[in-house]
Amino acid sequence: MASRFWTQGGDSDTEEESDYDEEVENAPVEVTAATAASKYISGNASDSDDSEGQKRVVRRVKDKRFDEMSATVDQMKNAMKINDWVSLQESFEKINKQLGKVMRVTESDRAPNLYIKALVTLEDFLNQALANKEAKKKMSSSNAKALNSMKQKLKKNNKLYEELINQCREKPELFEEKVEDEQEQEDEDDDEDEDDDFDEEPRNQESEESEDEEESERDGTESGPGWEKMLSKKDKMMDKQFKDPSQITWDIVNKKFKEIVAARGKKGTGRIELVEQLTFLTRVAKTPAQKLEILFSVVSAQFDVNTSLSGHMPINVWKQCVRNLLTILDILTKYPNIVVDDMVEPDENETQKGADFSGTIRIWGNLVAFLERVDVEFFKSLQVIDPHTREYVERLRDEPIFSVLAQNIQEYLERVGDYKGASKVALKRVELIYYKPQEVYVAMKKLAEQDNGGREAESGEETKTAEENRGPPAFLVTPELVPRKPTFPENSRTLMDILVSLIYKYGDERTKARAMLCDIYHHAILDEFSTSRDLLLMSHLQDSIQHMDISTQILFNRAMAQLGLCSFRVGLVTEAHNCLSELYSAGRVRELLAQGVSQSRYHEKTPEQERLERRRQMPYHMHINLELLEAVHLICAMLLEVPNMAANIHDAKRKVISKNFRRLLEMSERQTFTGPPENVRDHVMAATRALKQGDSEKAFDVIKSLDVWRLLRNKDNVLEMLKVKIKEEALRTYLFTYSSSYDSLSLDHLSKIFDLSEAQTHSTVSKMMINEELHASWDQPTRCIVFHDLEHTRLQALAFQLTEKLTVLAETNERAIEARIGGGGLEGLPLRRKDGQDYAAVAGGGGRWQDFSFSQGRQGSSGGRTGYKALGGGGGYTRDRPVRSGGYQGSRHQDGPGRAYPTSSTARGGQMDGSTRMVNLNRGVRA
């Protein structure tokens, strides 16, 4: 291959070489995408190139570039002749690409005349084509499309060179032969091609990347460790500049730094290369401030290494980045007079002030933003990595590194007094631990304590040796001042309390809301249902969550799911069902919890939506087990729905507690043959069938055989609770169903059938009597239930239904009239509405949590009146807790009429409300 000839040559040669090669290889790729016509032409082009290459005429790179360019111009001219806009468009893109190369080679800041001339011709031709309406109509659709897009691109592109084009139009002769002279002008290279059409951008980058890859590949095969060599070339160049350590001054470093930074984002500057160069500079930095400044650039350059939104930063870069940030913190700790700020533009020479300078030095930078970015990258990498691999586990072990960084930054910010920033960082730490049960937390703590130290030292040494090999030792050695090991309190709850109270005190709305949700989630994990419910209700997050961003909404959904699981574990079936039913109402649990994509039958997602959704996914280790969730939801629904159905046989449709469950039940009843249960759903359906017959034992056995129970920590207690609940509900179902057949039933008998203690049976039956679900009363001397023959006959029941409907009709009439003539005389309605308004007004005033710090309230303080400034946790919520009315479940859960947390009293209309309340993730996109 020709390349061998040049490999050992100068920098530019290799580059040219690879470019040239790429030309050949790229051609077929283009061909497949393009039309037949272009195939012909581009094929031609590469042919001619090839033949030129074979001649091995040693020419200046510059000339070569120009030849390429002129060849393209020729192509364009050909295309113009046959009015082929498709190929013309392609050539145009090509020439733009080549322009970049040419300019790089010539190091000139103005576009070559050849290019300008081509632009001028193109523009003329375009105008001509546009003017000719007839011809335009005749064009094929693809051709016409190309013409239109060409028109826009050219317009945009030409704006950049407007001046030159005008010159060219005025004095075309100037642009004929002066080419060579102008190219001699040497200057900083400045690429103007950047502002290309937006559509073009990704494609350009792609090709650039592939170019890079090819380059590296080729080098790898051709000349051994070519990759390092490429980099070291630049280093060599820098070494030349910084040959003598004693001669390096602040100015030199600063100048070089500016230079490198200016090259950032340009084509042709490799991102990794940039990082390397900057890292080198950090070692030669003269003052701590300068080192800091450069380090900031290094970090942001490291963030740039990965450009795509869905991909993640390479892990080793990530680790280096974290290490750099730690070094930054070291410097900041050592020199407290250096202030990091992103608001003001610091002086040009601020960093010149040396270590002994005592005044404040301002450096541009934003630690919080950096940390957030690091977190995002960590999160993304976990999203992308396959959770069933070793790699994932390895990646998870990096968590302590991140946590130490966050801890240090938070401490620093607190020291500086930036509590707002500190609260943001604290949130990141909260988000790291909120989903961990105590066991996992302890494991992480252990890992952080033993493993991290060793690994850190190891990797540190690695880099150190690597550094020593390259370049001189750093001038400015910064001792490791900040701890490199995270410290965790014994209990995850303690840590949460500390962090969360900081956030409640200083955070902004969103931070606080998120922290609150994490807090709720964490309490729920620890089985503290009442605390976590109170937090949820007090914060009024249910009302405001719809206005928050999607990721917070997902967090809310997760917290709700966890709360449901928690209340189930504690034995509160109704509450559990209320928490979970919304999640399941639309059948999009996966989407709502961001644990996988669920297909919707009715709605096709656009690729854009899908991509967005994928970006929101939770990493695997944070998932809530969906099977367990479904089991809990269905069991709760079963426990509530079966007696309910038995109680309302006459009009089964009237009171539906769980639509979802009803639907499943119908489906399973329609089956002619029911096999043994396989999945969660089958199990619950089998249990339901048993329960309907009052067979509590069988129902419990079926439920018990589910293997999701092993996921519960206190499995035995939960199952025990479940058993009792099932028995109770079986008893209720039995009484509802068969009470009409009995005149009396003895307590002993009942408690024997259902294997319940007498007290439990008595209590359950008494409750039914008081609630007038069961028309019966106890006969105390004989310990019997005596049934009053009060069952309505069918006719009577229907009559009652009729009256109810009449009432509804009358109400509707009244409302209709009211809407028409505007109120008057109907006391009931206006009054209620007024209540609601009043309520809303108060809610506006209260319902915010800035002023209360929860943990402080909880920790409490004793002493005189003075000690009570912070006590009284629920500041916000007390003002607008709702009117205590109706609702079997209690007013706390009833946030005003028809709002939030459903109660059983809203069961009729609640179902509908539910769907609006649960966060709809795609609403924004669809709307």
Binding site: S763, P781, G875
Partner: protein
């Protein structure tokens, strides 16, 4: 056992120092805690007030010595000195206020009053401020009546709303300590109005103030004649109930007692049961537990046990266990009332779900003997519309089932409809008539 249900430690932080004294006195009387501890607590309390003489006395009785620590002596001197200084500062104003002729010149308009004071008596804001300080100092020294008077006058003159509020609190405390329940109640309502007014600084403050208010009000409500109704009116307001639930669930005890001894508040009582149900987890009070037994779990044996605990708790509660001494024997009126009503509660609920009850069982449940129970029930049947009969042969009570007829129910359901429809029609007609006129 006795101390288990003692709420003093939870209530005390919400009270003024001076208000804690009566509580400690009560505890001393009941002898629930060692005397020594209580005395120490008292000294501790007094250390931050100006009642140094009193502290000295307690110190003497505690350590059984005649010596008084040096610091107390010093403090005494300091207090006296300061009192003098403050007195001087406020002297002109006090002199003015003691002159009835002069006071009559004051009008309702505050600005005008200030004008007059300034022009005729050379009394400016400093003197008024001094009056406040003086009143406060008086209060600290235990001279409550003086403090109450001065604070009252200060409020008439002051324009600083925040200061007025603290003056109001001070007045309230002074009235409570002087046991002027009527006046105290007035002050209480005034404070309440201010707290409820919308422009209160922050919700947090508001909650805290409400909680203070409720704690302070306990003194008044359980001593005032009409207090038991009013405590329900105050505590059962949503805002206050929320405050209780959030920050002071122990106050539920007092509300529960008030509900139990107050027969007329039935509708609110149902809602209150729900609150109790919610707070069950955070509150271990025998009285609320009793209600939970009767109305939530229908556990009558449990309720019976709780009743005994309740009695204990009431006797040991400084607010509830107030004694009436008549001749030789002391009665605790609230306890008797509570027991009576609690019994009634159990009985009522019990009857609702039974159709035949054995008298002896019932007597046991009610903590009565057979004869007493029979008399009690007969009384009930006679006085109220309790539909039951005693079958003395079998020793049982028979309930009369009171189920409404199906047809009656149907009629009830539809009765209102015709009226509503008629109204609707008349509305439409009105509208129709009004339109042509237009």
């Amino acid at each position: 056992m006795a101390a288990k249900y003692d709420l003093t430690q939870r209530i005390a932080p919400q009270l003024d120092r001076h208000l804690v004294f009566p509580l400690l006195e009560f505890l001393q009387e009941r002898g629930m805690y060692p005397d020594e501890e209580l005395l120490k607590a008292k000294i501790e309390l007094l250390n931050h007030t100006n009642m140094v003489d009193y502290a000295m006395d307690i110190h003497k009785s505690l350590y059984r010595t005649e010596d008084v620590p040096q610091e107390m002596m010093e403090r005494r001197a300091e207090v006296v000195g300061r009192l003098k200084a403050l007195e001087e500062g406020a002297a002109p104003l006090i002199a003015f206020l003691q002159n009835p002729n002069a006071v009559q010149e004051l009008r309702a308009d505050k600005q005008q009053n200030l004008q007059i004071l300034k022009e005729r008596y050379q009394i400016g804001p400093e003197q008024i401020e001094a009056l406040y300080q003086y009143a406060k100092f008086q209060f600290e020294c235990g001279n409550y009546s003086g403090a109450a008077d001065y604070l009252y006058q200060y409020r008439a003159l002051s324009t600083n709303s925040e200061r007025s509020l603290s003056a109001l609190w001070g007045k309230l405390a002074a009235e409570i300590l002087m046991q002027n329940w009527g006046d105290a109640l007035e002050e209480l309502n005034r404070v309440k109005d201010i707290i409820d007014s919308k422009n209160f600084s922050s919700p947090l403050n508001q909650v805290q103030s409400r909680i203070w208010l409720m704690h302070w009000s306990l003194f008044i409500f359980f001593n005032h004649d009409n207090g038991r109704t009013q405590i329900i009116e105050l505590f059962n307001q949503d805002k206050y109930l929320n405050a209780i639930q959030t920050n002071a669930p122990h106050l539920l005890r007092y509300l529960a007692i008030a509900f139990i001894v107050n027969k007329r508040k039935r509708p609110q009582f149902k809602d209150f049961i729900k609150v109790i149900q919610q707070e069950q987890y955070s509150n271990e009070d025998p009285i609320t537990q009793f209600l939970a037994c009767v109305y939530v779990n229908y556990d009558f044996d449990g309720a019976q046990k709780k009743m005994k605990e309740c009695e204990e708790a009431i006797l040991n509660d400084p607010f509830l266990g107030k004694r009436n001494e008549e001749g030789n024997y002391t009665t605790v009126p609230l306890r008797d009332e509570f027991l009576e009503n609690a019994r009634l509660f159990i009985f009522e609920t019990y009857c609702r779900i039974h159709q035949r009850i054995d008298m002896s069982v019932l007597a046991e449940k009610l903590n009565l003997n057979y004869e007493e129970a029979e008399r009690w029930i007969v009384n009930l049947i006679r006085t109220s519309n309790f539909e039951a009969k005693i079958d003395s042969e079998n020793g049982t009570i028979l309930m009369e089932p009171n189920h409404t007829n199906v047809y009656e129910q149907l009629i009830d359901h539809t009765k209102a409809l015709s009226g509503r429809t008629y109204k609707l029609v008349s509305q439409i007609l009105d509208q129709a008539q009004a339109q042509p006129a237009r």
